[in-house]
């Protein structure tokens, strides 16, 4: 399998990519409406508001009502896209549980500003629990695309998928990993780089860091496979089992608490198929703090050198048997 280099160092933020893709996709998807809680400028939804003012609904700073309203709107046949920051999606988890998921409404919850990638706003704004919370809701599909191009593909796929979805975007400019020809499918991981010694399974902004770690490991003679696991739920169990079987060691990488998110999903799938050593890259059950995203990524152990070190630990455990 070919090994795509990073196509560029920086592209759109995932939130801007989402906003543009949503706007383009909704020219023909007339049933889609968008719901905002006074942060359209930050979520990328300002593109949609400008293009379709009659399909844009303002709820003010009141996310709990907005989330349950979305369920009611979906009950009349519309496809509501609810957008706010990830941390405020947490505020409305119970509304998402009852009025969206339990009722099986075709609502798309799109969360910008997840993880320590939020940066200077600090710990209160950095949602590190959202993947775990939404993953625990029955029937909720959970997605975290890796780059602007994939975000655009995922946005269309999510709109065309029948059922409730929680999708993360991102605040900071995102590295570009994909060009034309990339195929995004809900529930399928994508092998970004092949390797036989260890598999780095990542989502969101951590995919680029995992790719960087794989390049560092290659320079040391370690062949790391990199998987972009953009769908956290339902997790691609077949791919997890195959990676465990073929590489015998796994490192999961996410801008999220190490508990309950991608790492938990992969560990559950792996343990049920072909158990192997696994290491978890993520925020280690603490809250975030202010700083620039790259500074914070270093402080909380999410950067490529940390991933590479975790890969070596996993490989060492494999060899100890």
């Amino acid at each position: 399998m070919s090994t795509p280099a990073l196509i560029g160092t920086s592209g759109d933020s995932l939130r801007e990519a989402f906003g543009k893709a949503l706007t383009a996709a909704c020219e023909t998807r007339r049933k889609v409406v968008a719901l905002d809680a006074d942060i359209a400028g930050g979520t990328g939804l300002h593109h949609f508001r400008k293009a379709y003012p009659d399909r844009f609904f303002q709820f003010g700073i009141a996310e709990q009502n907005m989330m349950a309203v979305a369920g009611g709107m979906a009950a009349t046949g519309l496809v509501p896209v609810v957008t706010t920051f990830a941390v405020f999606c947490l505020r409305a988890v119970e509304q998402a549980r009852l009025s969206v998921a339990y009722t099986r409404r075709n609502v798309k919850i799109v969360a910008s500003h997840p993880g320590i990638d939020v940066g200077p706003d600090g710990g209160s704004a950095q949602a590190l629990e959202d993947l775990a919370a939404f993953r625990a809701i029955p029937g909720m599909t959970v997605i975290s695309p890796a780059d602007p191009h994939e975000m655009a593909l995922a946005t269309e796929a999510v709109l065309d998928f029948d059922g409730p979805v929680y999708m993360r975007t991102g605040r900071s400019p995102a590295k570009r990993l994909y060009g034309e020809g990339h195929v995004f499918e809900i529930g399928k991981g994508h092998v970004l780089r092949d390797g036989s010694d260890v598999t780095l399974i990542a989502c969101g902004v951590e995919v680029a860091r995992a790719a960087e770690a794989a390049a560092q490991l290659a320079a040391q003679g370690i062949q790391a496979r990199v998987v972009n696991m953009a769908t956290i739920k339902p997790i691609d169990t077949g791919l997890v089992a195959r990676c465990a079987e073929e590489t015998g060691a796994i490192v999961t990488c996410e801008d999220h608490n190490i508990h309950g998110g991608l790492g938990g999903a992969v560990a559950e799938a792996m343990a049920a198929s072909r158990p192997c050593p696994i290491e978890f890259i993520g925020v280690r059950d603490v809250f975030g703090e202010s700083g620039e995203p790259d500074e914070l990524a270093e402080r909380f152990g999410l950067t490529a050198p940390h991933i590479a070190a975790a890969a070596k630990r996993a490989i060492a455990r494999k060899r100890r048997g």
């Binding site: 009502n65 309203v69 369920g71 009611g72 009349t76 519309l78 509501p80 119970e94 009722t103």
Partner: protein, 296 residues
């Protein structure tokens, strides 16, 4: 002006025959709700009794639900946001002939579609799932917005409990519905003054209650929630330019003398056979039917 507001609504028919029919449906609703709660050995009787007259008036005279099903996209919607009133909701559907009596009588049983709180996937007529207070109200607002957006001239009604109005989400929703001018939305508050542990006033006071709704931009009227004529008049008088709330002063446990205004009958209670028999007789049930319900 919204399309829904422009819809010409017929004056509710207030002939003696219609009032008699509402009273009959209300009585049957109370009977089936009590029988269901007895058979379930749990459930909330007090709030089911307090809202029965309002539910009967809504379904007999106000709601346009062709065929008694949730199939018509242009049907009016009713959302029981106070989901613990489920025994009365299932019972009024049975009294209307929309569902068989088996539904209210299988309340809370494993495998039954009549869950302890309404679930739309089991019971499409419930329009959404409720049981977490405040959410049905928001979902009803969403339905009103969605219908208006699609130029469907249907109306949305939702019933809240008084204790429910302590939820912050209710006031988020109240602000939202008024801001968006949802004249196709009518809320009814079953203001029976009691909640799970005690009187509203001792838990978290609601007054001045109507003034709160008006301050949030709603038309608010206060009525006796057991006076059928007053209920119909309140529905006939909804505003054309904003959402309306009918604050219905009711008696918790209404119709069962030993339950009336006694807080302990809010809760999920296990009714004794002698209590149940007395209640059903007082509510006008036939002795043979009482024994049939209580035997199974």
């Amino acid at each position: 002006m919204s399309v829904a507001a422009a819809r010409v609504r017929a004056e509710p028919v207030r002939t003696p025959e219609v009032v008699a029919r509402i009273k009959a449906v209300a009585a049957r609703t109370r009977q089936l709700a009590i029988a269901g709660i007895y058979r379930a050995t749990s459930g909330h009787p007090g709030g089911a009794m307090s809202c029965a007259d309002l539910l009967a008036a809504l379904y007999v005279s106000e709601l346009n639900i062709p065929g008694g099903t949730a199939d018509d996209p242009a049907r009016d919607r009713f959302v029981l946001s106070k989901g613990h009133g489920a025994p009365a909701l299932y019972a009024v559907w049975a009294a209307m002939g929309y569902v068989p009596d088996d539904i209210p009588l299988s309340l809370r049983r494993m495998g039954s579609r009549a869950q302890g709180h309404p679930h739309v996937l089991d019971m499409p007529l419930s329009e959404t799932s409720t049981g977490s207070l405040g959410q049905g109200f928001s979902a009803a607002i969403g339905m009103a917005m969605g219908l208006r957006h699609q130029n469907i001239p249907a109306r949305v009604y939702t019933m809240l409990g008084d204790g429910e109005c302590q939820e912050g989400e209710v006031w988020e929703g109240a602000m939202c519905a008024a801001h968006h001018g949802l004249s196709n939305l009518c809320a009814i508050v079953d203001y029976n003054k009691l909640q799970s542990d005690d009187r509203n006033a001792n838990i978290m006071g609601l007054e001045p209650f109507a003034a709160k709704w008006r301050a949030f931009g709603w038309q608010a009227v206060e009525i006796d929630g057991h006076d059928i004529g007053a209920i119909l008049a309140a529905f006939a008088g909804v505003a054309a330019d904003r959402p309306s709330v009918v604050i219905a002063h009711t008696v918790k446990g209404k119709g069962v003398s030993y339950m009336e205004d006694v807080p302990q009958w809010h809760g999920s209670v296990k009714m004794k056979p002698e209590e149940t028999r007395a209640a059903l007789l007082e509510l006008g049930a036939q002795p043979a039917e009482i024994e049939e319900w209580m035997a199974a």
